[in-house]
Protein backbone atom coordinates (compact mmCIF):
# COMPACT_ATOMS: atom_id res chain seq x y z
CA UNK A 1 0.00 0.00 0.00
CA UNK A 2 2.70 2.37 1.04
CA UNK A 3 4.70 1.26 -1.93
CA UNK A 4 1.80 2.00 -4.23
CA UNK A 5 1.38 5.52 -2.96
CA UNK A 6 5.08 6.21 -3.12
CA UNK A 7 5.24 4.76 -6.61
CA UNK A 8 2.45 6.98 -7.89
CA UNK A 9 3.91 10.10 -6.39
CA UNK A 10 7.42 9.44 -7.45
CA UNK A 11 6.42 8.25 -10.89
CA UNK A 12 4.50 11.46 -11.43
CA UNK A 13 7.32 13.67 -10.25
CA UNK A 14 9.81 11.68 -12.29
CA UNK A 15 7.73 12.12 -15.41
CA UNK A 16 7.13 15.75 -14.63
CA UNK A 17 10.85 16.26 -14.18
CA UNK A 18 11.58 14.47 -17.42
CA UNK A 19 9.07 16.56 -19.29
CA UNK A 20 10.53 19.69 -17.75
CA UNK A 21 13.95 18.69 -19.03
CA UNK A 22 12.59 18.55 -22.51
CA UNK A 23 10.34 21.57 -22.59
CA UNK A 24 12.01 24.09 -20.28
CA UNK A 25 13.24 27.14 -22.18
CA UNK A 26 16.01 27.80 -19.74
CA UNK A 27 18.76 25.25 -19.33
CA UNK A 28 18.76 25.68 -15.60
CA UNK A 29 15.14 24.61 -15.42
CA UNK A 30 16.00 21.58 -17.47
CA UNK A 31 18.74 20.77 -15.04
CA UNK A 32 16.31 21.13 -12.16
CA UNK A 33 13.86 18.90 -13.89
CA UNK A 34 16.55 16.29 -14.33
CA UNK A 35 17.40 16.64 -10.68
CA UNK A 36 13.78 16.04 -9.74
CA UNK A 37 13.65 12.95 -11.83
CA UNK A 38 16.88 11.63 -10.40
CA UNK A 39 15.64 12.07 -6.88
CA UNK A 40 12.29 10.46 -7.51
CA UNK A 41 13.97 7.55 -9.27
CA UNK A 42 16.29 7.26 -6.31
CA UNK A 43 13.28 7.00 -4.07
CA UNK A 44 11.91 4.25 -6.27
CA UNK A 45 15.22 2.45 -5.85
CA UNK A 46 14.84 2.63 -2.13
CA UNK A 47 11.32 1.35 -2.42
CA UNK A 48 12.77 -1.61 -4.23
CA UNK A 49 15.36 -2.18 -1.54
CA UNK A 50 18.26 -1.01 -3.72
CA UNK A 51 19.63 1.06 -0.88
CA UNK A 52 23.20 1.36 -1.94
CA UNK A 53 22.30 2.17 -5.51
CA UNK A 54 19.92 4.82 -4.33
CA UNK A 55 22.61 6.37 -2.21
CA UNK A 56 25.11 6.35 -5.04
CA UNK A 57 22.48 7.78 -7.33
CA UNK A 58 21.97 10.72 -5.05
CA UNK A 59 25.63 11.26 -4.36
CA UNK A 60 27.08 10.73 -7.79
CA UNK A 61 24.26 12.10 -9.89
CA UNK A 62 22.53 14.66 -7.81
CA UNK A 63 25.84 15.57 -6.33
CA UNK A 64 28.71 15.34 -8.76
CA UNK A 65 27.09 15.13 -12.14
CA UNK A 66 24.46 17.77 -11.67
CA UNK A 67 27.01 20.10 -10.18
CA UNK A 68 29.15 19.62 -13.21
CA UNK A 69 26.16 20.37 -15.39
CA UNK A 70 25.44 23.52 -13.48
CA UNK A 71 29.06 24.60 -13.72
CA UNK A 72 28.93 24.29 -17.46
CA UNK A 73 25.60 26.08 -17.56
CA UNK A 74 27.12 28.89 -15.62
CA UNK A 75 30.11 28.82 -17.92
CA UNK A 76 28.10 29.21 -21.07
CA UNK A 77 25.58 31.62 -19.65
CA UNK A 78 22.68 31.07 -17.33
CA UNK A 79 20.49 33.73 -18.73
CA UNK A 80 20.49 32.35 -22.21
CA UNK A 81 16.98 30.99 -22.58
CA UNK A 82 16.31 29.78 -26.04
CA UNK A 83 13.15 29.85 -28.09
CA UNK A 84 11.63 26.46 -28.49
CA UNK A 85 10.25 26.81 -31.99
CA UNK A 86 11.73 24.39 -34.41
CA UNK A 87 14.11 25.56 -37.12
CA UNK A 88 14.75 22.24 -38.76
CA UNK A 89 12.19 21.51 -41.48
CA UNK A 90 9.78 18.74 -40.58
CA UNK A 91 11.80 17.75 -37.53
CA UNK A 92 8.76 17.85 -35.25
CA UNK A 93 6.83 15.95 -37.88
CA UNK A 94 9.42 13.23 -37.81
CA UNK A 95 9.50 13.10 -34.06
CA UNK A 96 5.75 12.83 -34.07
CA UNK A 97 6.07 9.96 -36.47
CA UNK A 98 8.51 8.28 -34.15
CA UNK A 99 6.15 8.73 -31.26
CA UNK A 100 3.58 7.11 -33.49
CA UNK A 101 5.95 4.21 -34.06
CA UNK A 102 6.39 3.82 -30.34
CA UNK A 103 2.64 3.77 -29.91
CA UNK A 104 2.45 1.20 -32.69
CA UNK A 105 5.01 -0.92 -30.89
CA UNK A 106 3.10 -0.61 -27.66
CA UNK A 107 -0.07 -1.51 -29.50
CA UNK A 108 1.50 -4.59 -31.05
CA UNK A 109 2.88 -5.91 -27.79
CA UNK A 110 -0.26 -5.22 -25.81
CA UNK A 111 -2.66 -6.45 -28.49
CA UNK A 112 -0.57 -9.55 -28.89
CA UNK A 113 -1.83 -10.16 -25.40
CA UNK A 114 0.94 -12.08 -23.74
CA UNK A 115 3.45 -9.28 -23.35
CA UNK A 116 5.21 -9.70 -20.05
CA UNK A 117 7.94 -7.40 -18.87
CA UNK A 118 9.73 -10.07 -16.93
CA UNK A 119 8.73 -13.43 -18.34
CA UNK A 120 11.39 -15.20 -16.31
CA UNK A 121 10.09 -13.67 -13.10
CA UNK A 122 9.91 -16.02 -10.18
CA UNK A 123 6.48 -16.50 -8.74
CA UNK A 124 7.54 -15.57 -5.21
CA UNK A 125 9.97 -12.68 -4.82
CA UNK A 126 12.33 -13.08 -1.93
CA UNK A 127 13.20 -9.61 -0.56
CA UNK A 128 16.30 -10.93 1.12
CA UNK A 129 17.98 -11.93 -2.11
CA UNK A 130 17.74 -8.43 -3.52
CA UNK A 131 18.11 -6.42 -0.39
CA UNK A 132 20.73 -4.08 -1.76
CA UNK A 133 22.74 -3.51 1.34
CA UNK A 134 26.34 -2.48 0.92
CA UNK A 135 27.53 -5.97 1.60
CA UNK A 136 24.93 -7.61 -0.60
CA UNK A 137 26.06 -5.53 -3.53
CA UNK A 138 29.73 -5.47 -2.67
CA UNK A 139 30.20 -9.22 -2.59
CA UNK A 140 29.30 -9.85 -6.25
CA UNK A 141 30.86 -6.55 -7.23
CA UNK A 142 34.24 -7.63 -5.96
CA UNK A 143 34.06 -11.27 -6.84
CA UNK A 144 32.39 -12.14 -10.10
CA UNK A 145 32.17 -8.57 -11.36
CA UNK A 146 35.65 -7.64 -10.33
CA UNK A 147 36.95 -7.40 -13.85
CA UNK A 148 34.16 -5.05 -14.85
CA UNK A 149 34.90 -3.05 -11.75
CA UNK A 150 38.51 -2.76 -12.82
CA UNK A 151 37.46 -1.82 -16.30
CA UNK A 152 35.69 1.21 -14.95
CA UNK A 153 39.12 2.45 -14.01
CA UNK A 154 39.85 2.71 -17.70
CA UNK A 155 36.73 4.76 -18.17
CA UNK A 156 37.78 7.25 -15.59
CA UNK A 157 41.29 7.43 -17.02
CA UNK A 158 39.88 8.16 -20.41
CA UNK A 159 37.53 10.71 -18.99
CA UNK A 160 40.42 12.47 -17.38
CA UNK A 161 42.79 12.23 -20.31
CA UNK A 162 40.05 13.10 -22.73
CA UNK A 163 38.90 16.10 -20.80
CA UNK A 164 42.45 17.36 -20.69
CA UNK A 165 43.03 16.65 -24.35
CA UNK A 166 39.89 18.51 -25.31
CA UNK A 167 39.88 21.44 -22.98
CA UNK A 168 43.62 21.97 -22.92
CA UNK A 169 45.57 24.51 -24.96
CA UNK A 170 42.73 26.85 -25.60
CA UNK A 171 45.05 29.72 -26.19
CA UNK A 172 45.21 28.87 -29.86
CA UNK A 173 42.10 30.61 -31.18
CA UNK A 174 41.11 30.06 -34.76
Amino acid sequence: MVEAVLFVMMALSALAGAVTVVVARNTVYSAMGLLATLFSVAVLYVVQLAHLVAAVQVIVYAGAVMTLFLFVIMLIGVDLSEDLDEHLPRQRLWVGGLAGLVVALAAIVTLSGEFVWVPAATAQTNPESTNGTVQAVAVPLFTEWVLAFEATALLLTIAAAGAIALAHFRRVRV
Binding site: A11, A18, V41, Q57, Y61, F69, V118, T152, G162, L166
Partner: protein, 100 residues
Protein backbone atom coordinates in the same frame (compact mmCIF):
# COMPACT_ATOMS: atom_id res chain seq x y z
CA UNK B 1 3.72 -4.75 -3.77
CA UNK B 2 3.52 -2.88 -7.04
CA UNK B 3 4.05 -5.19 -9.98
CA UNK B 4 7.43 -4.80 -11.65
CA UNK B 5 5.69 -4.03 -14.91
CA UNK B 6 4.65 -0.64 -13.53
CA UNK B 7 8.16 0.26 -12.68
CA UNK B 8 9.38 -0.88 -16.04
CA UNK B 9 6.58 0.89 -17.82
CA UNK B 10 7.59 4.05 -16.03
CA UNK B 11 11.18 3.39 -17.04
CA UNK B 12 10.14 2.91 -20.65
CA UNK B 13 8.22 6.17 -20.52
CA UNK B 14 11.21 8.02 -19.12
CA UNK B 15 13.41 6.42 -21.75
CA UNK B 16 11.16 7.52 -24.58
CA UNK B 17 10.82 11.03 -23.19
CA UNK B 18 14.58 11.20 -23.06
CA UNK B 19 14.97 9.82 -26.55
CA UNK B 20 12.40 12.14 -28.09
CA UNK B 21 13.69 15.10 -26.12
CA UNK B 22 17.09 14.37 -27.56
CA UNK B 23 15.56 14.96 -30.97
CA UNK B 24 13.53 17.99 -30.00
CA UNK B 25 16.09 20.19 -28.31
CA UNK B 26 19.03 21.68 -30.10
CA UNK B 27 20.87 22.72 -26.99
CA UNK B 28 23.72 20.30 -26.55
CA UNK B 29 23.44 20.47 -22.80
CA UNK B 30 19.78 19.59 -22.78
CA UNK B 31 20.30 16.82 -25.27
CA UNK B 32 22.86 15.61 -22.89
CA UNK B 33 20.53 15.64 -19.96
CA UNK B 34 18.12 13.64 -22.03
CA UNK B 35 20.78 10.98 -22.36
CA UNK B 36 21.11 10.97 -18.62
CA UNK B 37 17.38 10.48 -18.42
CA UNK B 38 17.60 7.50 -20.69
CA UNK B 39 20.37 5.94 -18.66
CA UNK B 40 18.36 6.40 -15.51
CA UNK B 41 15.45 4.66 -17.15
CA UNK B 42 17.78 1.79 -17.85
CA UNK B 43 18.86 1.66 -14.25
CA UNK B 44 15.30 1.63 -13.06
CA UNK B 45 14.55 -1.20 -15.44
CA UNK B 46 17.48 -3.23 -14.22
CA UNK B 47 16.64 -2.83 -10.61
CA UNK B 48 12.98 -3.63 -10.98
CA UNK B 49 13.77 -6.62 -13.12
CA UNK B 50 16.39 -7.82 -10.69
CA UNK B 51 13.93 -7.50 -7.87
CA UNK B 52 11.33 -9.82 -9.33
CA UNK B 53 14.06 -12.13 -10.55
CA UNK B 54 15.53 -12.37 -7.09
CA UNK B 55 18.82 -11.43 -8.65
CA UNK B 56 21.21 -8.92 -7.15
CA UNK B 57 23.15 -8.61 -10.40
CA UNK B 58 20.61 -6.14 -11.62
CA UNK B 59 21.73 -3.72 -8.95
CA UNK B 60 25.37 -4.46 -9.58
CA UNK B 61 25.04 -3.64 -13.21
CA UNK B 62 23.53 -0.29 -12.30
CA UNK B 63 26.85 0.71 -10.79
CA UNK B 64 28.66 0.34 -14.03
CA UNK B 65 26.06 2.29 -15.87
CA UNK B 66 26.42 5.06 -13.34
CA UNK B 67 30.15 5.14 -13.92
CA UNK B 68 29.71 5.16 -17.64
CA UNK B 69 27.25 7.99 -17.32
CA UNK B 70 29.71 9.94 -15.25
CA UNK B 71 32.54 9.39 -17.70
CA UNK B 72 30.33 10.40 -20.59
CA UNK B 73 29.32 13.53 -18.77
CA UNK B 74 32.91 14.52 -18.23
CA UNK B 75 33.93 14.05 -21.83
CA UNK B 76 30.70 15.38 -23.21
CA UNK B 77 30.82 18.55 -21.19
CA UNK B 78 34.45 18.97 -22.16
CA UNK B 79 33.49 18.82 -25.81
CA UNK B 80 30.62 21.23 -25.27
CA UNK B 81 32.85 23.66 -23.47
CA UNK B 82 35.45 23.40 -26.21
CA UNK B 83 32.88 24.18 -28.84
CA UNK B 84 31.42 26.99 -26.82
CA UNK B 85 34.83 28.49 -26.55
CA UNK B 86 35.04 28.54 -30.32
CA UNK B 87 31.61 29.72 -31.31
CA UNK B 88 29.86 30.90 -28.17
CA UNK B 89 26.88 28.67 -28.71
CA UNK B 90 25.66 25.36 -27.47
CA UNK B 91 23.21 24.85 -30.31
CA UNK B 92 24.06 21.78 -32.33
CA UNK B 93 22.01 23.06 -35.25
CA UNK B 94 24.78 25.51 -35.99
CA UNK B 95 27.20 22.65 -36.35
CA UNK B 96 26.17 21.38 -39.72
CA UNK B 97 28.97 22.14 -42.11
CA UNK B 98 29.60 18.48 -42.72
CA UNK B 99 26.75 17.09 -44.76
CA UNK B 100 25.76 15.36 -47.97
Amino acid sequence: MVAASWYMGLAAALFMIGALGMLLRRNALVMFMCIELMLNAVNLTLISAGRVLNDINGQVAVFFILVVAAAEVVVGLAIIVAIFRRRATASVDELSELRG
